[in-house]
């Protein structure tokens, strides 16, 4: 059997390895890598890559966990990062402003100084030209003038720089546009390396323009000066020498002082910023701690409260919001305690009452019962009227007794007084006992009870008494409503669950009845005469018994097509159920045999719902149309392995979705262990494929 496990919505999580492949066909390697997620754990790809990722991820995991769990850490880190950002921004703005302020003053002073210098140089050259003109105007004048200019320029540099007293240096460079300069090489005051100290682009600009230009540079000294290079402002202009040849005159103003001031400001700001950031972090830590400590205390106390220590209270000091939280919390705890106390008292009273009623009713009933039996035994000696009365008395006492027993059982469930006595049991034994107990009734009805799937042990931790009661109820019901057709009891176990399904081919259930059968005192057909005195509480009690185990009891049926009741129990008591090894709708239902294609409506009409009141709601959702089932199958239904046994390590083995689809899609496919259909199958074709047959 490879049931589609009607209640297997949880299986969505089951088949993880197949999902990404099936859904996106052409997922790139990186896409898949990202989808797998660095921190999700599901990394696909080569083993080496996986190993590396794991190696990278491992030290990060505790940090991530701490980050997720610790709000204090989050707030402190966020505060630190944000204040760091603010401080950096502030620092850049302040430093920019200070730099601008410092340089503006210096540039202005330097410009006026340089302008003066240029004017002095021009005047000096004009004077020298006039003097040369008056001194001699002979043929050899050119050569002499050349000599004079060399001397003149050296003098100019000396005289100009002497006015600054180290506040600036003066450099002259030949105008490169002037071609051959005739020995008028670069000159500089204060052992400045003239060519290295003046940037090339400034020289180009001065060559092509007549105005004054400025730039920032570093003053480089000759190695003999033993001085470090220093930042400077350089202002230059093209000036004519006495021979009216252009040359370049530069003023270099060292900015060392300004730079020192600026670095002082920077240092101060950095220190202050660091302090601010650290202090803000510390403040955030302290502030958050003030809030978080009471919250943590509340969380701890809430945990202890929920663990049942109802007298736990928070300590409240002051009147602030935290104190209000504490007060409200304590008030809540107080009310909770009160309510729980009341409920406990109520439950105790109820239990006490039930117990007392039980005793008070049962003792006289025992006497009546025994008296009735004695009278019943002796009825042959009575006249017919009295004899019949004795029979009625005995019969109705039976009915009264079972009704009383069921009522008491139900009220025990309602009072929460039902206790589970779970131990590992083999459900096959329980089923065999139940079936052999129901066989006399089946014989009277002319039906035949078969057991399927009992080749291997079906062991679960369960309360044998209760499970037997549930199964007896189901089997007796199936025989009673089976209209003399076969009843099939199917066992299966897979994953963490075991299941017993009881299938009959009788009147079945009308739409909507699958949920109502579990209601108290519900009757399928009020007009129908009852053959055995059911109390109307049997299925309600069975449902409660199933719930007590953490299991499910669900019904399926179609009108005229019989019904199936399925009991699913977790294999161990504390394990939650995630699915059932047997599909709720049997394979030989009309729909699964494809009869819906033959003219019958395939809408929700003929399908019966399951029980809504199960512990996990969405598994047992009604199945309105065919499509959702197929799609659910298509995505990821854990295929239960019927051979999975406790202890042999077998688990739910997901099969390829396509295979499951194919199996379910073929209409009317004769299943390997398909029981005989309702219409044709009562003529006792029993054991095939190793099915055990427990007939008459």
């Amino acid at each position: 059997m490879s049931g589609d496990s009607a209640a297997a919505a949880p299986g969505r999580t089951g088949a993880r390895p197949e999902r990404p492949v099936g859904r996106k066909k052409a997922g790139s390697r990186w896409g898949r890598f990202l989808e797998g997620g660095l921190l999700q754990g599901g990394v696909q790809g080569s083993p080496v890559l996986r190993l590396v990722l794991r190696w990278v991820r491992r030290p990060l995991l505790p940090v991530m966990r701490l980050w997720r769990r610790n709000i204090q850490l989050k707030v402190v880190v966020t505060t630190l990062l944000m204040s760091l950002g603010v401080v950096l921004l502030l620092g850049f703005v302040v430093i920019g402003q200070v730099r601008n302020g410092l340089l503006d003053a210096k540039v202005k002073a330097s410009q006026s100084q340089a302008t003066g210098g240029f004017a002095a140089a021009k005047q000096n050259s004009d004077e020298a030209a006039a003097a040369a003109g008056t001194a001699d105007d002979g043929a050899t004048g050119d050569e002499r003038a050349e000599q004079n200019v060399i001397q003149w320029m050296s003098d100019l540099v000396t005289s100009l720089s002497s006015g600054g007293q180290g506040a600036f240096e003066v450099v002259t460079l030949p105008a490169s546009a002037g071609g051959d300069t005739g020995g008028r090489g670069p000159r500089a005051s204060g052992r400045v390396n003239p060519t290295d100290s003046v940037p090339e682009d400034l020289r180009d600009r001065i060559d092509s323009n007549t105005g004054a230009f400025q730039s920032y540079t570093r003053i480089v000294y000759h190695s003999t000066a033993h001085k470090e290079s220093q930042p400077a402002l350089v202002i230059g202009k093209q000036v004519n020498d006495p021979n009216n040849n252009p040359f370049q005159l530069y003023y270099l103003f060292p900015l060392t002082q300004e730079e020192k001031s600026l670095s002082l400001v920077k240092g101060t700001l950095a220190t202050a910023g660091l302090f601010v950031v650290v202090l803000l972090g510390a403040i955030a830590w302290l502030v958050v701690r003030q809030v978080v400590t009471p919250v943590r205390m509340a969380a701890g106390i809430a945990e202890r409260l929920s663990a049942g220590r109802l007298q736990e209270r928070m300590k409240v000091t002051g009147e602030d919001d935290i104190a209000r939280l504490g007060e409200a919390f304590n008030k809540m705890a107080q009310n909770l305690q009160l309510k729980i106390q009341q409920l406990e008292d109520l439950s105790r009273m109820q239990r006490r009452f039930v117990s007392d009623v039980s005793h008070e009713l049962r003792t006289p009933l025992t006497t009546v019962r025994m008296a009735a039996d004695v009278i019943h035994e002796a009825r042959e000696d009575f006249d017919p009227v009295t004899a019949r009365s004795a029979e009625l008395l005995a019969d109705q006492l039976d009915r009264f007794e079972s009704l009383l027993a069921d009522l008491l059982e139900i009220s025990r469930f309602d009072a929460g007084a039902a206790a589970l006595e779970a131990e590992p049991i083999d459900l096959r034994e329980v089923v065999r006992r139940v079936v052999s107990g129901a066989e006399p009734l089946a014989e009277r009805k002319g039906s035949h009870i078969r057991i399927v799937g009992d080749q291997q042990p079906v062991v679960a931790e369960a309360d044998a008494r209760r499970v037997e009661r549930v199964l007896r109820n189901l089997v007796v019901n199936a025989v009673e409503h089976g209209e003399g057709r076969d009843v099939v009891v199917k066992l299966a176990s897979a994953g963490g669950a075991v299941a017993v399904a009881v299938r009959d081919y009788g009147v079945g259930l009308k739409p909507g009845e699958a949920t109502r059968v579990f209601s108290r005192f519900w009757r399928a057909d009020p007009a129908r005469a009852r053959t055995t005195g059911g109390t109307g509480l049997g299925l309600s009690i069975a449902l409660e018994d199933a719930r007590l185990h953490g299991g499910w009891l669900q019904a399926w049926g179609e009108p005229g097509g019989g019904s199936q009741f399925r009991l699913t129990l977790p294999r161990t008591v504390d394990e939650p159920l995630r699915g059932s090894p047997i599909p709720l709708e049997p394979k030989d239902s009309r729909r699964n045999r494809g009869l819906d294609d033959a003219g019958l409506p395939c809408g929700g009409g003929e399908k019966a719902a399951t029980v809504p009141a199960q512990p996990t709601g969405d598994q047992a959702a009604p199945m309105p149309t065919r499509d959702p089932i197929i799609s659910r199958l298509g995505t990821a239904v854990p295929k239960a392995d019927p051979t999975a046994l406790p202890g042999n390590g077998a688990r739910v083995v997901p099969r390829p979705a396509s295979g499951a689809l194919r199996q379910e899609d073929i209409p009317g496919r004769p299943g390997a262990d398909e029981p005989p259909s309702g219409e044709t199958g009562q003529d006792g074709e029993s054991s095939k494929h190793g099915e055990a047959s427990h007939g008459r």
């Binding site: 039980s358 005793h359 003792t363 025992t366 004695v374 083999d426 034994e429 107990g437 062991v459 008494r465």
Partner: protein
């Protein structure tokens, strides 16, 4: 047949109507009933009448049934069948742990009651000379004694029957249902708690360490079997 069915039955019940009805039924089946309605007087009545079996109602005025059961069990291994109106696990287990051999839940049918009583009385009717060994215990079936290293261990008849049933077929694992049938005489499966409680009681008497049983071994998911001898 009739000879062993004769038996003195002490009915301890405060409900006079029920007691009278029980008397009618028991007499009709050939037993000799005697009655006591008060828990305080139950022990005296027991000593006086020396019954073959005690029918004991759990809810009694004065001393309650549990206490009476304990007192009787302290001085005799006579079969005790509890009558209880409560089928809750706790009540049943407490009753069984106080020493009752069997219990029957009200309301019961007269035949059911008589069957239980007969099942409890029948066992003394088959004295087959037989020596059995289970673990380091030696059982003399006919002499109704269990000895370890010559020291005899006192068991109630029911506990003795349980031990003998296990010891006779040491290769077989007994399900609780089989034990119920063989030892208690239940035809249809009944409450397996009977077996659990009595196995515990038996272990507390015959095992060296009841936490780690060696004589009566639990076979998980199935039942019990005799330990290797």
């Amino acid at each position: 047949m009739m000879s062993f069915m004769k038996g003195r039955v002490l009915v301890v019940d405060d409900d006079t109507a029920l007691a009278e009805m029980l008397g009618i039924v028991l007499r009709g089946e050939g037993f000799e009933p005697s009655f006591v309605a008060d828990g305080d007087k139950a022990l005296a009545a027991f000593r006086e009448s020396k019954p073959d079996l005690v029918l004991l109602d759990l809810m009694l005025p004065g001393r309650d049934g549990i206490e009476v059961c304990r007192l009787i069990r302290a001085e005799s291994g006579v079969p005790i069948v509890m009558l209880t109106a409560k089928s809750d696990t706790v009540d049943v287990v407490v009753g069984l742990e106080s020493g009752a051999d069997d219990y029957i839940v009200k309301p019961f049918k007269p035949k059911e009651l008589v069957a239980r009583i007969r099942a409890r009385l029948r066992r003394s009717e088959e004295p087959a000379p037989e020596q059995l060994a289970i673990g380091d215990l030696v059982i003399d079936v006919a002499g109704h004694s269990v000895k370890r290293d010559g020291q005899s261990i006192a068991l109630t008849p029911l506990e003795f029957d349980l031990l003998v049933a296990l010891a006779r077929k040491p290769w077989q694992v007994f399900t609780r249902e089989v034990l119920l049938e063989q030892v208690w005489g239940y035809r249809h499966a009944a409450d397996t708690r009977l077996v659990n409680v009595h196995v515990q009681r038996l272990r507390s008497k015959v095992e060296k360490d009841p936490e780690r049983p060696e004589i009566v071994v639990t076979v998980r998911g199935v039942g019990y079997k005799a330990g290797p001898s």
